[in-house]
């Protein structure tokens, strides 16, 4: 068993298709902690102590967000800037996150093909995510392959999106029960997700 915390960072949930569906499915998963960052801090002012305590209490950290300008939405960036403090997350005495796992669950508007050398995004998604990967690394956390939906804007609500959301719930359950097998996958998607046998 693992203590899972899910951080959702989406500034426009009223207009969200994919992330909202993901939240709805994830709500069915018991035994995990959920945080809506934009609801907790609509005017920023992140409570660093509280967030650090939350991180200490969990050992799998899920960051769920729509991909904005090849990066995270602003509030999540602020959260990273403030919470992953020197002496807490890295640097001298900064070992509080050591050994924990971090996984990104992001939705990208661009189609899969665009995230390649020949695509208009010119880089693979993993390459573009290296800043976050290195962030996890500096904090001595294990960086799991991210769970991604490409082409999120065009994706069909009833098929692709629904499948992605169900896959997301299954992923969270597997993380909670320590039975996620990543193999040597670069990126996890709903159809390539490989989950071990359910514990019960």
């Amino acid at each position: 068993m693992s203590d899972v915390i899910v951080y959702l960072a989406h500034p426009g949930q009223r207009y969200s298709k994919v992330n909202r569906a993901m939240v709805r499915e994830a709500a069915k998963v018991g035994g995990i902690t959920r945080v809506d960052l934009y609801a907790d801090y609509p005017r920023y002012g992140i409570d660093v102590e509280r967030e650090q305590d939350r991180l200490i209490d969990h050992d799998t950290i899920v960051l769920q967000f729509p991909f904005f300008w090849y990066s995270v939405p602003a509030l999540l960036k602020d959260w990273i800037d403030l919470v992953l403090e020197h002496g807490f997350a890295y640097g001298e005495g900064g070992t509080q996150l050591a050994g924990k796992r971090m996984i990104l669950a992001l939705t990208a508007g661009g189609p899969e093909g665009s995230y390649s050398e020949s695509g208009y995004n010119r880089f693979g998604l993993r390459t573009l995510l290296t800043p976050l990967e290195q962030t996890a690394h500096l904090c001595k956390m294990e960086f799991l392959p991210p769970y991604v939906l490409y082409g999120s804007i065009e994706a069909d609500r009833d098929t692709d999106v629904a499948e992605h959301a169900r896959g997301y719930a299954a992923l969270l359950e597997a993380l909670r029960d320590d039975r996620l097998q990543t193999g040597n996958a670069d990126i996890l998607t709903a159809d390539t997700l490989r989950l071990g046998e359910a514990a019960s």
């Binding site: 426009g12 949930q13 207009y15 609801a39 907790d40 609509p42 508007g109 665009s114 208009y120 804007i153």
Partner: protein
């Protein structure tokens, strides 16, 4: 009665004519009064007026002045200035006193008289110098600050001088002194009783009087002022303030101490009181008028017969005095490592003798310390040196300052940062602002005239002063001259507007943050020249709206964006309405205004209800991944060759 009024009229007319003229000529008010006195003296002679008696009465102005000086001196501030006061000021007073005394003795005067002469001439003119430095904006410079410290030391030094000079009394002059008439009339029965006390009894009485001043100042004034303030009559305050000073004067005179010392002490005791600025504002006119009267009597007392007979000697001695004082000050400036123009400013500004010299002179003749002949000559020298002071400042302005101006400019005006922040009105609005500012480390001066309120605040340890913040004299006492910022947070919108207009007109350097009642009030304040206007309930109402949306299960971030948008639209509307607002027409009669208001309201409602595109689509308006054909178009534009080759 009519005689008294006639005399008063005479003095007032002379002052009202001479002082503005002198001020216009850059001579300062003290010289104006002196000149008025000189002009009056023949008339007074014809009317057979006892100028000396009037002068004794006018000396009460000095008592008031020392009370006010005491009020300005919180013990803490005094302590912070101790090196400059004791070092710079102390050396100036003692040094000048000693050297002048030595010269007088060398010229054959007995040591007692020489000492008195030294004391008289060691002082400079607080009135002229402070006024001039303030007018020229030099008070905050290093030289100005040093001058200020020395003047302060001198003001304080007057107290021991007044206390110890009587010890120098010369029995052979007693006859002359009696001619100056120095008895206190009606209280003679008490006087006789005190005369009858033993030495110990008198010492006890003296200590008791001082203790009484301190105790009354500390414990009784607050309830008394609280009581008076509740009556809400302004003149009662003035009466109470005068009662304090007159009471001290009478008490001190009775026990044979200097009233100046007593009132100074009372001033220091009250420096921490919340009534300090009110007292200052109330007593300031008395100080000004009485000192003015005092200078007039000095001017009227100048013996021109003697001046013309001894013209060369007097002028020579005056120039000698200025040169001597300058030399001593210059030495001190070097010792205390003053730089460039500051050195010159310091030495030039303080090189004259001052009005306290007059006080000491009249005191000294009254107490049989100085013979009249010498006192009259000294009086001429003091007056002449003061008359020459404007020339010294002129020399500084024209000859010294230009040479150093480049260096001077490099100095950051850091000192301005110490200027106080004034908060007018400490109610539910000003109170919050005050707490924010003080917790951010700023020194605030809070003015409020709700006495009940004030007592509560005091109990919680806030530094607040009683007084009606809309009174210019009170603002002045609170330090509006040097203030960086004033927050006008009083309840009454009309008073707010008046106050804001006054400050904007008279103190353009002060930033004004004003509390507005409503939209129309905002326009009024804008028209009055304020550019930082806060509607007092607007922000909280906006927060209320946001809470309501959250209660209706809006996502907190959406609610936040919604009200932000509302605020932006409201401000936009306000700006568009501003040019139609006319302070002289009630807004509902101003048809253009009403029409624009309706238009804007309709626009706003539509925008907010319809979920118009720019309202809901903020995320859609943001980045959308480009479609393949956009990419192609883009590449054609920027890299045509690449396309050809592929």
């Amino acid at each position: 009665m009519t005689e008294l009024l006639e005399l008063a009229l005479l003095f007032l007319v002379a002052g009202v004519i001479a002082v503005p003229v002198a001020a216009r000529l850059g001579l300062g008010s003290v010289l104006g009064y002196l000149i008025a006195g000189i002009a009056l003296s023949p008339v007074l002679g014809v009317l057979d007026v006892d100028v000396v008696e009037i002068q004794h009465f006018a000396e009460f102005g000095v008592v008031v002045m020392l009370f006010l000086i005491g009020l300005e001196l919180e013990p803490k501030v005094l302590w912070q200035m101790r090196t400059k006061l004791l070092g710079l000021g102390g050396l100036q007073v003692l040094g000048t006193l000693g050297i002048v005394m030595a010269i007088a003795m060398a010229l054959g005067q007995p040591w007692k008289i020489s000492l008195a002469i030294g004391a008289v001439l060691s002082l400079s003119s607080t009135a002229i110098v402070l006024q001039t430095l303030t007018e020229k904006g030099l008070l905050r410079s290093d030289g100005g600050q040093s001058s200020f410290s020395v003047l302060l030391t001198q003001d304080i030094a007057v107290i021991p001088m007044l206390a110890f000079l009587p010890l120098l009394a010369m029995p052979e002059l007693m006859g002359e002194a009696a001619a100056h008439g120095d008895d206190h009339g009606g209280l003679s029965a008490l006087d006789a009783w005190i005369e009858g006390l033993s030495g110990w009894g008198r010492a006890g009485l003296t200590l008791g009087a001082i203790a009484a001043v301190i105790l009354v100042g500390n414990f009784l004034t607050r309830p008394v002022f609280g009581f008076v303030a509740r009556a809400n009559l302004r003149e009662l305050f003035t009466a109470t303030a005068l009662t304090i000073v007159v009471g001290i004067t009478v008490l001190m005179t009775l026990v044979g101490l200097s009233p100046a010392l007593g009132s100074f002490l009372a001033g220091v005791v009250l420096a921490n009181s919340e009534y300090r600025h009110e007292l200052e504002a109330d007593l300031e006119p008395f100080r000004g008028l009485l000192l003015g009267l005092f200078f007039i009597t000095v001017g009227a007392g100048i013996d021109f017969g003697m001046l013309s007979e001894n013209l060369l000697v007097i002028v020579g001695l005056t120039l000698g005095l200025i040169a001597l004082k300058f030399a001593i000050l210059w030495g001190l400036a070097l010792l205390f490592k003053m730089q460039g123009a500051d050195k010159w400013l310091f030495a030039l500004s303080l090189a004259q003798a001052g009005e306290f010299g007059f006080v000491l002179l009249s005191f000294a003749t009254g107490n049989a310390i100085l013979p009249d002949a010498i006192a009259d000559r000294l009086l001429l020298i003091v007056a002449l040196s003061m008359l020459l002071t404007p020339l010294l400042f002129l020399a500084y302005d024209k000859l010294i300052a230009p040479r150093f101006s480049a260096a001077q400019e490099l100095e950051p005006d850091e000192i301005d940062a110490d200027g106080p922040v004034i908060i007018a009105g400490h109610g539910r609005f000003g109170g919050v602002i005050n707490r924010i500012l003080t917790s951010a480390g700023y020194k605030t001066v809070v003015l409020d005239n709700a006495i009940g309120h004030l007592e509560v605040l005091r109990a919680f340890g806030f530094r607040v002063f009683y007084g009606d913040p809309t009174r210019p004299d009170l603002l002045h006492a609170a330090g509006i001259d040097q203030a960086r910022l004033i927050v006008v947070a009083i309840d009454d919108p009309h008073q707010t507007t008046e106050l804001v207009r006054y400050i904007v007109d008279h103190f353009p350097h002060v930033h004004v943050t004003a509390r507005a009642r409503d939209r129309n009030h905002v326009y009024e304040l804008w028209a009055a020249g304020c550019r930082d206007i806060i509607r007092d309930t607007f922000d909280s109402a906006v927060r209320g709206g946001r809470s309501a949306l959250e209660a209706l299960e809006w996502h907190p971030f959406d609610a936040e964006r919604k009200v932000k948008d509302f605020v932006a639209r409201d401000q936009h509307a306000m700006r568009r309405m501003a040019d139609l607002y006319d302070p002289d027409t009630p807004s509902h009669e101003n048809s253009a205004y009403v029409q624009r208001a309706r238009e804007l309201m309709r626009e706003q409602d539509e925008a907010m209800q319809q979920d118009s595109p720019d309202y809901t689509d903020w995320i859609g308006r943001a980045w959308t991944p480009p479609r393949p054909r956009d990419i192609e178009a883009n590449e054609e534009e920027t890299e045509p060759s690449k396309k050809a080759s592929s």
